[in-house]
Amino acid sequence: MRPKLELLEHSLVESILDEAFELLETIGTKVAAPEAVDLLRSAGARLEDSIVRLPNALVRQALGSVPREFSLYTRSGERAVHYGGDDVHFDPGSSCLNILDSETQQPRPAISADLIRMVQVTEMLPEFAAQATAMVCNDVPSEIGDWYRLLLVLWYSDKPVITGAFSIPTLQTMLELLATDAGGLEMLKEKPRAVFDVCPSPPLNWSEFASQNMLELARAGVPAQIVSMPLAGATAPVTLAGAIVQHAAECLAGITIHQLASAGAPVVWGGAPAIFDMRTGNTPMGAIETAMLDMGCAQVGKSLGLPTHGYLVASDSRQIDAQAGMESGGSALLGALAGINMISGAGMLDFLACHSIEKLVIDAEAIASAQRLLAGVEPHGEKLAINAFAQTGLHGDFLKLKETRSLFRKEQHFPSAVIDRRSDGKADDILTRARIRANELVTGCQRLPLPRQVEDRLFAIATREAGRIGLDHLPGIEVPVPSGS
């Protein structure tokens, strides 16, 4: 039996959905992209003062066409992530500006070399099923930052990618890069490698860019991941249940826009909800209530049979300390028990403002523990203990038994040296152990070469787009050696 934790009574899930539908029908949602508004109106939605009210039937029809599952593939074409059911995957958090410098442990603006290092570490850690375009590279002009992050991940990794765009022209460049990587637009649709996060603005505001983004992604057949972020007590009702209603309504509106553009296109019921800290006005990602919101939101999505996403394994501490471990480890376990398909956030500190590679390798250990927990307690044979006792009696030397040797690898997870289980020698602190581990991972990471034409084509696209803003070099990318030399 796989352990599972459902936070909400089934009747509460029903009430949440009822109110979400009611909210969309009576209060409505803002939708700014004219094309999205037209689609909604011709499907029966009412537009009044830039607010769209969605009839229940329209939303239910959209829900009917959403795929219940889909997969993401590696560049090599292997299925690596399954969105659907109770499958659980993890990826690093996304798009912060700062990195906690490995040496000084002080935050500083991240550059492309930091992202590459994080990609290498993520590539080596089996706990992460996917990469993320994890940080803004400050050595790259901001106009091209979105697609440049994706380029670096595609260049250095084979894993699927969780990414996102902040403008429509950028989205087109990103889709071009992904299509090149996949071997064409059709291949990209058939075996998608990336998911794009799209964020409505709370409460219930699908901005021009967000709503247009949903249309473009649906048409390209590239999975969209709705990242609804109600802030309980500030931009959403203060009660957890009320904030979950808002999350559901924002997702339902997004799904309706998305499915009207292309019925059957893959979309994820996702989010980064949080409570609003009533003392500081901050948005604590490590708060237990934030984890409860993620669990509740996912449960509502699951009740509709949809693929789910959440934002956990992040801490609000500004350094690698016990708070970081406690918050990240706790929410990794809760997210896993909630059966959330993709859990983003590992590596992040300081209200998602700062990434840390050392934290990422520590979080991987928490994730590994959560994954072990999900594997549950299995009998492994007809008898549970009697056979073992029959062989060794009360001598207590189970270590010698054949079944010990054949089963211990299945029963026990072996953490890396980041987790200190020794009882001798110098007791290094966890930061030291994490630094050593990160260095080992980077040293051991071999870049899987891209097929020649793909590399040349990616390089050509990047050079072309960088040229538009007068950038004559590509930080972090080596120039491919010309063919025939």
């Binding site: 500006l97 500030a234 003392r279 209200f351």
Partner: protein
Amino acid sequence: MEADFAAMRQSIVDGAPENALALAKQALEQGLHPLEIIDNGFVPGMSEVGEQFAKHQMFLPDMLAAAEAMKAAMSVLEPELKRQGEERPSAGTVILGTTKGDIHEIGKTLVGTLLTANGFKVHDLGVDVPSDRFAASARELNADLVGVSALLTTTMRGQRSVVQALETAGLRSSVKIIVGGAPVTQRWAEEIGADGYAKDAISAVALVRNLLAHKLAATEVTV
């Protein structure tokens, strides 16, 4: 009948706008001077809320309710002051807004509410404000300070443009600039040449007071 300053103070602490309004009206009817009512009745309420907040006994919703109560009292006291040809000494004129492309207003609005309750004149330009508008408004309103908020890493860069716009407009020496928002740090504030950074609305009030201390001293406002 004596003016009930204790009740006025309590109406602010309770965050009760109706009570505050009634008490303010009553005190005016009794013939008290508006400044006396403000300084002895309502301002001590705000001070107490500030103290309770610092001790973690009151929270932002309490603070907002207190500010609302203050606003209700001022809605009758300020017109009366004006009628008498006087004005409450301003602690400074502040312009607030979010950067171009950023539509997240909560942090900025909170800062505005608290600054207003603490005696500053606040002009909120709203969300998605072009850099030039910050500069134009600062000139027009003869502002002492401009506060620029950004929630996203992508829109945070707009804070630098505001600093530059004020420089271009030749206002940089006379107008202080502060920045805030989730991704913003002290280091970023220094990098773009802003005068300060506050991590939350409460520290923003302290920061503004500090930066405009010369002005406060000149007007002897004690809130």
